[in-house]
């Protein structure tokens, strides 16, 4: 055993990684890339087999193929209508929460008074179950996109505020001293030092918030909507079309994942320095 280990080490020394046969390296990379996809496919196959072998009733757990069929019964136009509606609410809510949270986070980070007074309110708002408040918001703001955007915004802004404020306060003291020794304006201190320093923090919150805003949009649609993926799930289950509800759910998950990947992509493209070296693509 120890001999084999020793010879393995020797062979590694004799043959550094970059001089290994190119084909093996290429194969390893391919396996690395495909492994998650294959795992996913494996689960789907197992699911399909389980449904068939145990003859599970469709209202308990429909098989992937049944879900696929149910999905295809809806026209592309219908799908686009639902997806578009959910996407619109989620994105408007997301952008609105970014526009509100960033200045709020700067203010909270730089003013102890504001932090003492406003922060508890934020915690209260965040601790209130959004599902419980959603009907009240709809009653207060009427039907239309506005209450849905508000619901989405409420659920997605909290991580943004907290994470951005943390990032702004994480700026090294030396840089603030450098800024003060140059007698630079407060505005430049914030825009040229503090905010860029908070970028990694902001993006980790942006990744959480994008999925939260999809959740917010769905919650809003549960309460009052005539379109959207959340509405479609509610409608399908009320008519016992469980496979169709699952199809909507699958699309919802895909939508969330795609939006998440887009945020990751944006960070990689716009702020490559804020991504740890080994994760840069």
């Amino acid at each position: 055993m120890s001999f084999r280990l020793a010879s393995a080490i020797r062979s590694l020394r004799a043959e550094p990684p970059e001089r290994r046969p190119a084909s093996r390296l290429w194969l390893k990379r391919l396996v690395d890339r495909l492994a998650p996809v294959l795992t996913m496919l494996g689960i789907l196959v197992l699911w399909e087999i389980a449904c068939r072998v145990f003859a599970l009733p469709e209202f308990l757990l429909p098989s992937p193929s049944a879900i696929m069929r149910a999905g295809l019964t809806m026209s592309p136009g219908e799908w686009l209508g639902h997806i578009g509606s959910t996407l619109r609410v989620a994105l408007i809510g997301y952008v609105a929460s970014i526009l509100i949270s960033l200045p709020l986070a700067v203010a909270l980070a730089l003013s102890p008074l504001l932090s003492r007074t406003v922060y508890p309110i934020l915690v209260v708002v965040h601790s209130t179950p959004i599902v419980a408040v959603a009907p009240i918001i709809v009653v207060a703001l009427g039907v239309g996109d506005l209450p849905r955007v508000v619901i989405t915004g409420i659920i997605s802004f909290f991580p943004l505020v907290i994470s951005t404020a943390t990032g702004i306060l994480a700026t090294p003291d030396e840089l603030i001293e450098l800024s003060r020794s140059l007698r630079a304006t407060r505005a430049r201190e914030i825009t040229q030092i503090r905010l860029p320093y908070a970028v990694p923090y902001i993006f980790s919150a942006l990744k959480i918030s994008i999925t939260l805003s999809v959740i917010g949009a769905v919650v809003a649609e549960f309460v009052a909507a005539e379109r959207g993926l959340g509405y479609a799930i509610l409608f399908s289950t009320s008519t016992f079309k469980i496979p169709q509800a699952f199809a909507c759910l699958a699309v919802l998950v895909l939508l969330s994942l795609t939006l998440f990947r887009l945020v990751v992509f944006a960070q990689n493209r716009l702020f490559p320095w804020s991504v740890p070296r080994e994760k840069r693509g």
């Binding site: 090294p172 030396e174 840089l175 001293e177 450098l178 800024s179 003060r180 020794s181 140059l182 007698r183 630079a184 430049r188 040229q192 030092i193 860029p196 970028v199 702020f271 320095w273 804020s274 070296r277």
Partner: protein, 261 residues
């Protein structure tokens, strides 16, 4: 110019008290008086907590004295003065800017723009600190020593009369540390500055400084101001000069006897 005859930096009976969070007060410096002539290299040595960094922040105008007066060329320091550059313990370069942009950052931060002249000055400074080939590199592509060289170039950008260095090499490994000390000797020979160098390394202070201010802690006071007779230019041979070891030992004894007392 009469102002040039005045000391570059002077402390007159400076006391600095910091409030603590528990309501008590802590005296960081008590009744400090000294004067540093223009273009002198002065090192402040002492154990941690002796208020060395407070001295530096008072000169930089980042904090004010509780009692007494801090002056630069005779004028009381009331706000951060123009002719001061600072090098911190950590390089604290901005990771989103390349090295050239980091060196020109003080200009952009103070005036909002960087002219072609400053960019040329910055490139000259990068050459001075031996980083010409790294102008377009990002800070995380440089070693700790190289990052600190860039930080020195950044501090020199606005051509300050006074260079304040707060334990600039203490975060570096021992070999890089020695190398950087010789590097600083070279830079100071080419660009004479009034340098205030904070350190807790006695040999480093002896190698670099014209005068060494030995401090004692709690409250920070001056134990002794030692003139350093080691001839310049100093280089690696200085380390084997008997005077170098003699002086280091003497200062070390001062620090320890004061502590024991």
């Amino acid at each position: 110019m009469t102002t040039r005859l005045l000391p570059a930096i002077s402390f007159e009976h400076v006391t600095r008290v910091f409030p603590r969070t528990d309501g008590q007060e802590i005296t960081a410096l008590r009744d400090l008086s000294f004067a540093i002539p223009k273009n002198e290299f002065v090192a402040f040595v002492g154990p941690s907590g002796c208020g060395k960094s407070t001295v530096l922040r008072l000169i930089a105008g980042l904090i004010g004295p509780t009692r007494g007066r801090v002056a630069i060329y005779g004028g009381t320091v009331e706000e951060p003065p123009d002719m001061v550059g600072i090098v911190f313990q950590r390089p604290t370069l901005l990771p989103w800017l390349d090295i050239l942009a980091n060196v020109t950052f003080p200009m952009r931060h103070k005036y909002g723009r960087v002219t072609e002249t400053e960019r040329k000055v910055a490139l000259e400074l990068l050459e001075l600190v031996g980083l010409s080939d790294f102008a377009r590199s990002r800070p995380d592509e440089l070693s700790g020593g190289m990052q600190q060289r860039a930080a020195i170039a950044r501090a020199l950008l606005l051509d300050p009369d006074i260079l304040l260095m707060d334990e600039p090499f203490s975060a570096l490994d021992a070999l890089t540390r020695d190398e950087m000390a010789f590097e600083l000797l070279r830079i100071c020979a080419l660009r004479p500055k009034t340098v205030v160098f904070i350190t807790h390394s006695i040999p480093e202070a002896v190698l670099l400084a014209d005068r060494i201010v030995v401090m004692t802690p709690r409250p920070g006071t001056i134990a002794e101001i030692v003139d350093n007779p080691l001839p310049r230019p100093r280089n690696i041979d200085t380390l084997s000069d008997p005077l170098y070891n003699e002086l280091s030992t003497r200062i070390r004894n001062t620090v320890f006897t004061r502590r024991a007392a």
